[in-house]
Structure formats: C-alpha cells, structure tokens
C-alpha cells in the first residue's frame, strides 16, 4: 500500500508542478504578496510583489509588462504600475518588494469573487507562469446600517462607561 501511495503522490506532484509549467518559458517569474484581497465596489487596490530576472540579459522594470486575461470586463480593470518608476533588474536577480499593478472594481459590482489571470512578459517576449488573483467583494453597509451601528457602539460605550463609574 505504501508503494501505491508513493506512486500516487508522484503523479500528484507531476500534475501540480510539472504539467502547468510545460507551456511557459521559466526564465522570468514573479510573485504577488497578497494575490487574494477583499475589496468593495468602486475601490482600487494595489498589488505588490517581486520580479525575478532569470534571463541572461540585464533588464529594467520598464522591460517587464503585465498582462491580464480571463476576467469579467464589466467588473475589473487593471493598470500596470511596474516600470513607471524605472529601476534596474540585472540578470539573475530578484527585486525587493515593488508595486506591480492596480485593480479597480467597477462601482456597483455585486458581491462575489472576481478573478483574473496575470502573466508577466519581458521585452524579449519571455512569459512567466501565470498567476491567478482574486478580488472578493464584501457587502458594503448601507448608510442607515452604519448609522445604527455607530449609535449602537456609542450606546455600548456609554453603558460600559456608566458601569465603570458606578463601580468606581
């Protein structure tokens, strides 16, 4: 039985690690620190991460392009931030944490999870392994709800304060 499970685990490793990477040149790569973020409709959030230049050519940040696919165009839009402030990314190095791009959720976007596939490309048309990001849209409290909530908090604080004074 142990032999069988080892075989299965090897297959799993193959499927997870090797198979998705077969189609991509692995000379450049990137990481996203927080690929899944909670946002509200109409909000713009920024994604940061690192870039690894595994090619043999010294590049700069503006030699890298971020491409976005497979997202809901009615809900999401993206803007590249990487490269607007240019800095060198020599061959064989990984950058420190840098702003990569921003994502904006359209106003009125209903609750749910919105994903996109992000790919890094360099000026020599190397492509990274794609990374999926997620934006989770939480319910936005309506103004009346917020008002009630604030009033409730004030009431609680008032009660607690009064009790404290009484105890004292």
């Amino acid at each position: 039985m142990r032999v069988r499970w080892n075989t299965t685990l090897l297959l799993i490793a193959f499927c997870f690690i090797v198979a998705p990477m077969r189609s991509f040149a692995d000379s450049i790569s990137f990481t996203i620190i927080d690929p899944s973020q909670a946002v509200t409709a109409g909000q713009t959030v920024q994604f940061a991460g690192t870039i690894t230049n595994g090619t043999s050519i010294d590049l700069t940040a503006s030699d890298f392009f971020l491409n976005f696919s497979d997202y809901d165009p009615a809900a999401l839009s993206f803007a590249q931030l990487l490269g607007l402030d240019n800095f060198p990314i020599p061959s064989g190095t990984t950058t420190s944490l840098a702003l990569l791009f921003s994502a904006t959720l359209a106003p009125g976007t209903p609750r749910g999870s919105y994903s996109a596939i992000v790919t890094l490309q360099d000026v020599n048309d190397h492509l990274s392994v794609p990374v999926t990001i997620n934006l989770r849209v939480a319910a936005v409290p309506e103004p009346e709800t917020v008002t009630y909530m604030i009033l409730g908090l004030i009431s609680i604080f008032a009660v607690v304060a009064q009790r404290s004074m009484n105890i004292a």
Partner: protein, 678 residues
C-alpha cells in the same frame, strides 16, 4: 476499483482541476514587438496581439487603448479582430496623439478588449512599454507623408540611402474598397508588378530597385505593409489606416465638380474654400447652402436636393478678393485679377446650374493671375445634347485653348441625366493657356441614383522636377527612357500631362525625343533637360555614353576545317581600351579541349589600333580604326611554325552597340563568329 483505476481517475481529476492546468488552457493575451510610426501630430502603432493560452478566443475585440494615458484617436473602436486561435497572433493598428511623447523615451501602451470563452465574455488587458521613434522614422526608413484614401500619396518611405518608396492609394467606388494602386521608387521607374488577391487587392509589389513590399489586408481599410530593401538589410513594417468611406457621402444625390489649378500664393494645400449652392426656380439666383473650408482631400456630405429638382449641385472655388463682387446672372464674367468672393452660380432655364464660368474663372484665378487684364466672359449654353460642342466652341472663341477640356467636362457633367453621354469621368490635366499652369478637372456623376463625390485638389505650383534615373550609362546605339517627376515645395508629387513636358539636350552624345527616350549616338557625357512648359521649371539628368568597343561579349565560334571537320567553341571575349592601349582577352571552351585563355595587348594611337593576336598557329597582325559606333579592325598573319607553306591568315572584327562579329580564314580553314554583348 483496481489500483490502476484509482491512479488514473485520480490523475484525471487532478489534471482537470489543477489551477495551473486551467490557467494554461484559458485564452491569455500578450503582445509582440510593435512597429511605431511617429508622425507630426500622431503616433501610429501596429501591435501584434498574441493568444498565448491553450484555447482559442472567439470574437476578440479591442475596446480601448492608451499611450502614456492618452486615449487612442482611432475612431473605429471597437476593433473586431474575429477569432484568434491558441498560439496565434493578429495585428492591430491604433493611432494616438503624440503630444507629450518624447522620442527615444519609453511610454506605457495599454490595450484593453474582450473575447468570448467558454465562460462568457471575458476581458483582457495587455501592457507594453514602447520606445517612441523619432518623428517620421521607423526601422531605418523615414516617412514624410501619411494620408488616407483621399490623399493619393498614402505613404512615403525613405530609406537610409535616399531611396523613396511612395505608396499611392485610390478608392474604388465599386465597393468602397481602398486600393494601393501604385508604388514609385525614386531613381527608379514605376513599379508595375503586382500580385493581387481574390479581391484584386495588391498583396505583393516588387519595386524597380528590387525592394519587395508585402501588403496584408487586415480589413478593407487597414493595410499592413512590410517592405524589404534589395539587400535585405533595411526593413520597414507599418500600417496604412484608411478611414472607411462615409456611406452618407456615397448615397447623397449630388453631382460635384471642382476645377483646380496650381495655387502659387498658397502656403498650404488646404486654403481654398468651397461653396455649395442649390438651384431655385428657373432664372433665380442660386442659394448658398454651405460654405466650407475643408482640408485637402476631405469628403463631406451634401444635403439632399429639393424635391422636384434635378438633383444637381454646383460647387465652385471662390478666391478671396475684397475688390470684386458678384458677377452678372446668366452671364458669367470674371476679370482676371478681380476675382470674386461670391459664387457665380445661377439656375438656367432647365433648373440646372451653370457653373462653367465659375469653374474656369476660379481655376484661372487660382493660378495667381498670370495673365492679368485678359477678360474671360463665357455665356453658359443651354444644357442640351450638343452642349459639349457648344462648350468647345465657346472655349475656342474665348481663346482658352486647352481649357476647352475643362469646359467639356463640366458641360457633360451637367447635362440632363437622360442625355448624359457618360456617367463618370476624370479629366487629366491638359490645360495650358500661355503661362497658365495645368488645370485639373475632376467630376463624377451617376444616373439612377445620382451619386456624387466632392473632391478638391489644388496642388501647389511645381517647385522642382526630378528626372529618373538621374544618372544612367548606355552604349552607342542603346537607349534609356527618362521620366520626369514634378514636385511641389512640400515634395508632394504634382501631376502634369506628358504633353506639357519638353525634353532637350545640347550635347551631341545623345538624342532625346518628346517622351524622354534617350539614344546614345557618340561616346561622351550628355545632360538631358526636361522643362515643364507652364511653370518653366526644369529637371536634369546625366547620361553617359560609353564607346561600343569596351565590354565583353559571348557566343560561339565555328571553325570549318575542311574537308570534313567542323569545330564549335564557346567563346567569351573581353576588350578593355584605354587612351593608349587595348587589351583583348579571349576564352575558348569546346571541342573536347580544356578551356584556353589568351590575352593580347595592343596599342592605340588616336583612332588607330594595332594588335597582334596569336591564334596558336600563327600571330595575326591586326590594324584598324575606332569609330563612334565601334571597332573595325582587320589584319593578316602567317603561320610561324611553317612560314613557307603559304598558310596565311586574315581576319576582320567589328563591334557595334550590341554584337562583336568577325571572320578569319587561312589556307586550310576558316572561322566566323557573332558574339553578343554581355
């Protein structure tokens, strides 16, 4: 479930639901290196959009684009690209304002769009920092003009060696399709070799200098152009984006007629105004509908004609002159130098405009009043079947000379539809009155439904004339055809009729006919001059005529060696003459013998030449003369091996512009040859 069944089913599920596998399968977009053309006011980007995913993307559309934050000015958005298969690319063309863009600097290009996948409409955003090229340059070529379908010169590319490739576009009214109709290469002749696709659109052009231009029709109005210089080192890749023809313009019932001419006072081609008038009741004054100041080559809509009218409009070109006013109704008068600011358009008895006078007056006035003081007064004839003849007669009566062609055009254009002899015509420049530059008339009309296009084309005066080839080399008796290419001061080509060009030379080395055909008649150098009669501008070309005895010839030599032997050799002969020497090299191959090369040097003294040629069996002493049309030598020789056997040789060699012929004979054999110049 067996062990292997579990393994396989587990593997299947893992593969299917693996996030990485799903990413790889989904359509994803990236870009490839774009081609940029930086024009005076805008940047044209031709960007390959690649589907790098593992599945096809259907109904791909580009919905927006920005360059350094500025939105594209391409008006055809969204761009429908159709389906893009996995790993396939398609090219998109976008135009951006180049305000704030710094040549040599990188700016962020962003293109957004949508496509259909298995989960519905999905979005894509691709980014790329692009380097802005210097104005008007791309990949070693510089571009000096970029127009649209209304601008015949759609694109001009100039490579690093100064070669100019001009792309000319012309609309095809039958389908609203824009076609690149010709390509010209400076210092070369008009390219004539086109490969056409199924829709008769050019797809491949080979220019005379060997440049190869590939044309890919992304759409009917978007042409991707890729050109390669003859040596393969220069490469141009760009796109011509031609706006679609306005359907409104095409369907408006109207007839337009424009008279144009050279406008020397204009610093721009777009200064003339057009007034569109509409016919009222017979005999009434025309009513001005529109005053327009369109840019050169623009199209614009015309209002529908009033109910019951013949559906004819007139358009004339007024020339601003505060000293004059409207001329008399029914009789059009325009005194040169006192041009009118008001359109001379009236309605004749049949409700048609009579604009002939206006056209002539405007055209003449636009010429800059070169013949001030001469009055042109034309009574517009009734629009009847013989109107053409009447107009011609009027033209003659008014001493308008070839302007009658213009009158002819307008008369035919405004004949009643039922009596109209032609539906569409374009008059090429043919007018020349004294010092008047050429006048161009352009008019179209169609019967049922009447359709018309406005076109205004007022070229500037001829500034200079290029003659191509600017330098050429021929031999005596050979010919070369020179072509004249007039340009205005903006280096835009100006069309002139061949009849307005006069070719001449003062040098005796060549003759030239009235079509620019140059014939070499004597060794030397000649300057050929072409003069455009109206503008008196001239262009020159240098033709060098070489003597006809320097060069190389090849052919066969047959030696008859009686009684029964005939030997044939392939012979190459090269003759190099200097002022004092002549060198002859002859290579013989054939008759089973190895190749044999003999080089003999002779002397030249003035026009006399002496040469000893060792034919192997005896030296032949040649003497001869050099004449304008070639070499004529003859000589004799004796067999050195046995000079007493009486075997003597004699021969003759003649050259002309084409052939080297000769004959030699001895006591026992003879040879003849005709070699052709290589």
């Amino acid at each position: 479930m067996s062990f292997w069944s579990r393994i396989l089913s587990g593997t299947f599920l893992l593969v299917v639901f693996s996030p990485g596998w799903a990413q790889a399968q989904a359509a994803q977009f990236s870009t490839e290196s774009p081609a940029l053309l930086n024009e005076t006011t805008h940047v044209v980007v031709s960007l390959p959009l690649v589907n790098t995913g593992g599945s096809a993307a259907a109904n791909v559309r580009v919905t927006s684009g920005t360059l350094q934050g500025a939105a594209t000015t391409t008006t055809r958005l969204p761009l429908d690209l159709g389906d893009i298969a996995a790993k396939e690319a398609t090219e998109i063309g976008l135009t951006f304002p180049n305000v704030g863009l710094v040549p040599g600097s990188k700016h962020l290009l962003t293109v957004q769009g949508t496509y259909i996948s298995g989960t519905g409409t999905r979005g894509f955003t691709v980014n790329r920092f692009v380097s802005i090229p210097p104005t008007g340059s791309i990949d070693g070529f510089t571009f000096t003009s970029y127009g649209n379908k209304n601008d015949p010169l759609a694109l001009r590319a100039r490579d690093q060696t100064g070669n100019v490739i001009d792309f000319y576009a012309q609309k095809d009214d039958s389908g609203g399709v824009v076609a690149l109709t010709s390509i010209q290469v400076k210092n070369g002749a008009q390219a004539t070799f086109f490969e056409l696709d199924a829709r008769q659109r050019p797809t491949r052009i080979i220019a005379p200098n060997g440049s190869i231009v590939h044309l890919t029709w992304a759409t009917d109005t978007h042409i991707l152009i890729e050109g390669v210089a003859p040596d393969g080192t220069l490469h141009v890749k760009t796109a011509v984006d031609v706006p679609a023809m306005s359907s409104a313009t095409r369907k408006r019932p109207a007839v337009a007629a424009i008279a144009t001419g050279c406008n020397p006072a204009s610093s721009s081609n777009a200064t003339s105004k057009i007034t569109v008038t509409q016919c009222g009741p017979p005999g009434s004054d025309a009513r001005v509908l529109m005053n327009l100041d369109p840019p050169l080559g623009s199209s614009f809509d015309l209002p529908a004609p009033p109910s019951g009218s013949p559906g004819v409009y007139a358009a004339c070109i007024p020339v601003p002159d505060p000293n004059s006013g409207e001329q008399a109704v029914n009789t059009c008068k325009s005194v040169l130098g006192k041009t009118s600011t008001v359109i001379h358009a009236v309605c004749n008895l049949k409700g048609y405009f009579t604009i002939i006078c206006d056209a002539i007056a405007s055209a003449v006035a636009l010429l800059g009043n070169p013949i001030a003081g001469i009055e042109i007064a034309v009574q517009c004839p009734s629009i009847v079947r013989d109107a053409t003849l009447a107009c011609l007669a009027l033209g003659a009566a008014e001493k308008l000379g070839d302007v009658s062609g213009v009158i002819d055009a307008f008369c035919r254009a405004f004949m009643p539809a039922a009596e109209r002899a032609v539906d569409s015509f374009i008059l090429q420049p043919r007018a020349s009155v004294n010092t008047l530059p050429p006048i161009t008339a352009f008019a179209t009309s169609q019967i049922a439904p009447p359709v018309g296009d406005f076109r205004i084309d007022i070229p500037k005066c001829i500034d200079h004339i290029d003659v191509r080839p600017i330098e050429s080399s021929i031999k005596v008796g050979e010919t070369v055809t020179l072509e004249a290419f007039p340009f205005d001061s903006n280096n835009n080509p100006v069309s002139v009729p061949a009849s307005s060009l006069t070719w001449s030379t003062r040098d005796s080395a060549v003759t030239v006919n009235d079509r620019g055909l140059v014939t070499g008649v004597a060794p030397g150098t000649a300057t050929v001059t072409v003069v455009e009669k109206a503008s008196e501008k001239e262009g020159k070309a240098k033709v060098e005529v070489g003597d006809s005895f320097t060069g190389s010839w090849a052919g066969t030599v047959t030696i008859n060696d009686p009684p029964d032997r005939v030997r044939t050799f392939n012979v190459t002969a090269a003759i190099l003459k200097t002022a004092t020497t002549i060198r002859v090299t002859v290579v013989w191959v054939g008759d089973g013998d190895p190749a044999e090369t003999r080089t003999e040097a002779g002397s030249v003294n003035g026009r006399k030449i002496t040469l000893n040629y060792d034919a192997g069996e005896g030296a032949v002493h040649f003497e001869g003369t050099l004449s304008a049309d070639g070499l004529h030598i003859s000589g004799t020789g004796a067999d050195p091996i046995d000079p007493l056997d009486g075997d003597k040789w004699s021969g003759v060699v003649n050259t002309n512009g084409r052939n080297l012929t000769g004959h030699a004979s001895g006591k026992e054999s003879s040879a003849t040859w005709t070699l052709t110049r290589q």
